[in-house]
């Protein structure tokens, strides 16, 4: 067990280091001078008119005039000391301040979305397995397929049209009051719930074919009772492993949804940073989202043996490649 934990921690560190390196490489890959692009992205006219001292200052602050290896080491040192530099597109505030201001709103949206997502996803899955008629079951299945195919912005626009403009139940814009979070979180949740519902219902069907389930049926338990008391626990394992991906989907969704609903937040900030080509801000956000994924998957993987002891048992390990 200890070996498993240590190996998993080591992997998390490697992936996080990789994400930091990736955020460094992105800026290096940029054709042209990143400092110039930052100035241009701020809408301060074309590069020729850019103030030379301004360019020099950005280059100096980002260490762009140093040799590549020194730049990389300097970048690693700054990231490890959590010195993210200056957000040039935000009146030269510190990147940490800008992100700190947006974090709360996105955390709120993300958590509400995740809860809704899990509730809806489980409902879709159970509906597509447990409902009494084949017609009702396939209707639920169809809902998940549509949920995956409809672009998030289309879903958002539809919900806006119906619930904000026609019915006037929820505000269409901003982040004031509890009502403003309903439509954004529902949009994000509906999209992820399709994926979760499909994975879960497939898993329920697979587990239902196992021997011990047949034994339960043979003992005379009804379909709903078999699924609820014998199948669900094992069937939820694959769902547990995709939590990291679902969280990633929520963060991705936030980028579009926050833009549409005019909510301040990390996703909105990311899109604006890319538009303004504010590289220090983009770099920090890449590391932040990468770090979030690493953290979530680490927690999932480390708690997995508690749910399914087969993962670390010697017998199971012998059977693995």
């Amino acid at each position: 067990m200890l070996r498993y934990v240590l190996r998993r921690l080591g992997q998390a560190v490697v992936v996080l280091w990789g994400a930091i390196t990736l955020s460094f490489v992105i800026v290096q890959l940029t054709p042209g001078d990143p400092a110039r692009l930052i100035v241009m992205g701020n809408g301060q006219g074309d590069a020729g008119a850019a103030d030379a001292s301004q360019l020099a200052q950005i280059r100096d602050e980002m260490g762009l005039d140093q040799p590549l290896v020194l730049q990389y080491l300097g970048y690693l040192r700054r990231v490890l000391t959590l010195d993210w530099g200056t957000a040039y597109s935000r009146q030269r505030q510190a990147v940490a301040t800008v992100i700190g201001d947006s974090l709360g709103s996105t955390l709120e949206l993300g958590l509400v979305s995740l809860v809704l997502l899990v509730l809806l996803g489980v409902a879709f899955a159970l509906g597509s397995v447990l409902l009494p008629t084949a017609w009702a079951r396939s209707t639920f299945q169809a809902v998940t397929v549509v949920g995956i195919a409809v672009p998030s912005f289309v879903m958002a626009i539809l919900l806006l049209q119906i619930f904000s403009f026609r019915l006037g139940w929820f505000p269409a814009f901003g982040a004031d009051g509890p009502g403003s979070i309903v439509l954004p979180s529902l949009t994000i949740a509906l999209l992820g719930a399709g994926t979760l519902g499909q994975v879960f219902s497939r898993s329920i069907r697979e587990v239902s074919a196992e021997g011990y389930v047949e034994v339960a049926r043979a003992r005379g338990l009804g379909n709903a009772q078999v699924v609820l008391s014998h199948v669900l626990r094992n069937a939820s394992l694959p769902v547990y492993t995709i939590i990291g991906m679902l969280v990633g989907g929520v963060v991705s969704g936030a980028a579009i949804i926050e833009t549409i609903f005019g909510r301040p937040g990390i996703g909105n900030l990311y899109v604006e940073a890319v538009t303004a080509r504010d590289f220090p801000l983009i770099q920090a956000l890449i590391v932040l989202t990468g770090g979030l994924y690493v953290l979530v998957t680490l927690v999932v993987d480390l708690s997995y043996p508690l749910i399914d002891p087969r993962v670390v048992s010697p017998a199971a390990r012998g059977g693995r490649r």
């Binding site: 409809v150 049209q161 990633g248 899109v271 890319v274 993962v311």
Partner: protein, 302 residues
Amino acid sequence: MSVLRDPVGAVGTAAGTAPGTDPSRTPVRASLRGLPRAVASHPGIAAASVFLLLLVGWVLVPDLFAPTDPVRAVGPSLAPPSGRFWFGTDLNGRDVYSRVVHGARSSLLAGLVAVLISLVCGGLLGMIAGYAGGILDAVISRAVEVLVSIPGLLLSLAIISALGFGVDKVAIAVGISGIPGMVRIARAETLRIIGLPYMDAATTSGTRRPVAILTHVVPNASGAIAVVAGIDLGGAILAVASLSFLGFGAVPPQPEWGSQINEGRTYIASAWWWTLFPSLVAALTVLSVNRISRGIGTREVR
């Protein structure tokens, strides 16, 4: 570890990819030969095929389907749908239907190019990782994990921040974001094929490694990889539309679905047709592509 990770990889990176297509557990053999039979027995697939054929027509000969000029004003501003303007007109008096038809080309080709990029790069890297094993495999697999750690759309956005804006750059960015998923599938398929007896036969009879990859692994892994690429296509079209919607794709007068939906959304209360029709077409496209690729993919599993 791999026991835990594999289901994640199988689900893919974009929200639009199909869950549960894990070729290491269910060997998927597929080819286009399955298409006619699948169409006959599934009305959903038939409808999706008809719609996709229409889209191919829009891409190849848009003027035949929509003779109206897509970039110039041809009618009154914000006219509702009518016999003359099927999808109504936008603020500048341009024909929304014509813009949807002419926009199909950049929207769909960008998705196609993106999938080709992830298919070629990811397929190659995955086969190399699976076949070579050892350090090369470890390095490629770790790199894939790093790319997966950034959610697909955000990774594309980061790449766009480096490359700059435009439909071509959006396609490249979406393609790169799709590489990790493809590497995982190709690697898993390669490992499966390596375990088969005919690979032992090839090795003992002295076939060299690169030759063995080309003659044995590539043709046998391509079926499953093609199915995943098909499913990825839906996600790629979706991602391209999302990025255009955010304003990183087509340059304004050029018709493109995502940017069109974005232009129209501020007028949704007064002119719902402007944003709704391109939205519907985009959603139906992704739905059709997903339905068909899944239909081909699951043909022999069921």
